[in-house]
Amino acid sequence: MSSEQDPLHRQLGLTDDELAQIEATLGREPNRTELAMYSVMWSEHCSYKSSKIHLRTLPTEGPSVLVGPGQDAGAVDVGDGIAVVFKIESHSHPSAIEPYQGAATGVGGIVRDIVSMGARPVALLDPLLFGPLTEERNRWLFAGVIAGIGGYGNCIGVPTVGGEIRFADAHTADPTVDVMCVGVARVAELVTTQSRTAQAGSLMVLYGASTGRDGIGGVSVLASATLDDGAEGSRPSVQIGDPFAEKLLIEASLELIAAGSLEGLQDLGGAGITCAVSESAARAGMGASLDLDAVPLREPGLVPFEILTSESQERMLAIVHPSKIDDVRAICDRWGLTTAVIGGLTPGGTLTVRSGGAVVAEVPASSLAEDGPVYERPVAPPARTMGNGEDPTFVPFEKDLTEAVFTVLTAPNVASKRWAFEQYDRVVQGNTVAGPDSDAAVVRVTGTLKGLALSTDSKSRFGRLDPFLGAAHAVAESARNVAVTGAIPMAITNCLNFGNPERPEVMWELTESIRGIREACLALDTPVTGGNVSLYNESGDSAIWPTPVIGMLGLLEDYRLRIPSSFPRPGLAIYLMGETFAELGGSEFAEAVLGVVAGKPPALDLTRERALHRLLVAAARGAVVASAHDCGDGGVAIALLESAIGGGHGFAVALAGDLPSHVALFSESASRAVLSVDPADEEALVRLAAEHGVPVARLGETGGPRALIEGLVDVPVDELRDAWEGAIPRLLGET
């Protein structure tokens, strides 16, 4: 940690080597303002210095990928001239101290990334991890984050259609708050580095909110040199979201793009104006001149470094040909947004910043945006053995199975998240075919029959035991979640949430996870189109579990053929696709019932996984199945119960085989799904399964008011529903 005696660059988080690199670039010592700019741009958050070399190993190409990593968000071609733009980002650190605003501004940030690609945001998903709700602070964080996501998303008119919520001790001090946004654009209108050619002389127009002293973060140590103590307290690192301003920003931006008024568009996020201006210039292969006096300020007296690094929300930067500036002003005026020409692109590569007529910084734009340091940090597996502890798969279980069923069904990871997702507007825009209570959300694309199937998944409990497997499982599960709706898995975005990368053990978790994503994405043919990395999620020396969150995009050619996830009526045959092995390592049963997170996570055979997806897609196309639900946490038992609760229809099944009862019920073997099928279609399903090489077993039928698993469980569905839906409210003390 830095101390007062440290030289300024260290207080700003720059190492001695990094300072030397800056001096070599400039051929002189940087001044304070320049140092502030390098400090924010070369931060872990903006430069990806610890993760960059590893991210490069991810598969990023495929016939449908229009834009891969490297721009504000990735884009995939879904046919008929339509592009789907999507990305995930984390806002965990601010959410840990001000959950409502932290989560709200997280939503705002990722939405602007999508808009800056020229896409209309059509869906949000929020994967979240918290510490247990038995602790008051975790309840406060949980309630605040959910309210903040709703408060912002609901107010900008983008439906929140999915996500996930999980709980683990390791997230008590450091909740993980990730947000994924999905947008739709005409391929021809995408705003990409390739599609727009900015030229020297083009104007840089800042529009939206004014700039204040918020979110200046680490560089605020500069303040001691420039401001008295009183002003120091007025520089909060958390920002207040203004979703109303964001809504206007979305509409104005999309109108500007449609009108053909822009040569480039960039959101303002981390590192504020410094980042937006240097990236815009560097991408265009140019320099820029920037006049800080032209930046509209929310309060008087901001000094250059504050204006340059402020992360005030709800701002965008447009690159505009001088002939179009009046059009831009007219459109922004109509939406009540302030515009300011803050500079222009210049030939050569120098970014020159002026304030009060004087030059306050002069650096190569690309040195900020592209030439940041890259580290190959030491990697070492932890001392503790992986798959530690006795594997719960082989611990005999003699207790009551019905009680175990209720324990798993009401475990916070499994229990209904209705309390949370009812706070999200999931219907606005009128395209939500399936919302948060489905394995994957399905959002139709206006004017077409296409349906986007969307899912976010993390398997950090598996990751804790084996980060490679955990990450691969997360990819597989997210793909399975879209496949059970009948959609073809197309591409992913990801958010890598980890601890301190300066610890070799954390770097090992990170690299293993990236390897897992790589393997799974290659096998499932789902390239990585982008993502985000959130490091330093730890307090003391206890880091969060390795938590790569996968955001999957799947495509349904005809959303009307979507397969629902619960039993739609009585009289259907129930099938289990895939095979169940003795695999309770890292399972929900082990954690909720036995109280251990131990063992070896289930094996993952990606060839089998892919076969299952293809079978499901074929079954949907042929309208062969009535429902499909993936087997995840809690195994086949929970998949059956959730299918029954969701549809309000009971079932009677028998689990064949010679696994011990509790293993048969709760094993979390991968590549499985529970289907219901009209008797008339059974033959077709069995034939399809044989063609795809997917093992099938007929378990029984739907119908009646009870959930009956022969010889093991026999409970009324209503009772199950009450338990499942009541679990989270009970933990929050509301019932």
Partner: protein, 238 residues
Amino acid sequence: MTGAVPRVGVVTFPGSLDDGDALRAIEQMGGHAVSLWHGERDLRAVDAVILPGGFSYGDYLRCGAIARFAPVMEPVMAFAERGGPVLGICNGFQVLCEAGLLPGAMIRNRSLRFVCRDVWLRVETAQSCITDGLTPGETIEIPIKHGEGQWIATPEQLADVERDMLVVFRYASRTGIVDEAQNPNGAVNNVAGIRNAAGNVVGLMPHPEHAVDPDVGPTGGQPLFASLLHMAMAGVIG
């Protein structure tokens, strides 16, 4: 006038969100949808007006408090006074209350949480521009989504509202039972929607525009739009 299609206007305020959905619902139900802009004092010869859902001006001070002063509200109020059908949905309902066109006011939900779910409504009167042709006592399913939908009124106002049968919908069970268990936001007497005395002005918290297409939700909004278009037609013919 066979073949005539009523023109229904939907106002877009800064922060309106369900304006597009309302426009689409009108078209889907056979009307001619007309987009109206908050800053213009022109109703473009429409036969009915919808103030849509959303968060006009962010709803920061009070829901609808700022929108009621928008220039477009002048002709809307005059249109309402002439007996033209005016429907306020969610935020639009709040605007109508703020503007004094409908009694009462909205405060935050009892739970203090935003709530989005499909609810059942019991029709209380057929004397309104969106329940013409419906039968009191019948129930319809429509989604709600609001954080400040708890309708309240002073005891005197409430007595007047009930006496004059101004309640159009109450939150109810599927079978029409009105009780606390069915009340999603704490609204007094389970009020989900009300009308003015003439019945041409109606406000409701639920979102009928999200209940016309069976592919994405329930269909309880269809008869309400059918009624609105029918009433608007009276304007076209008369």
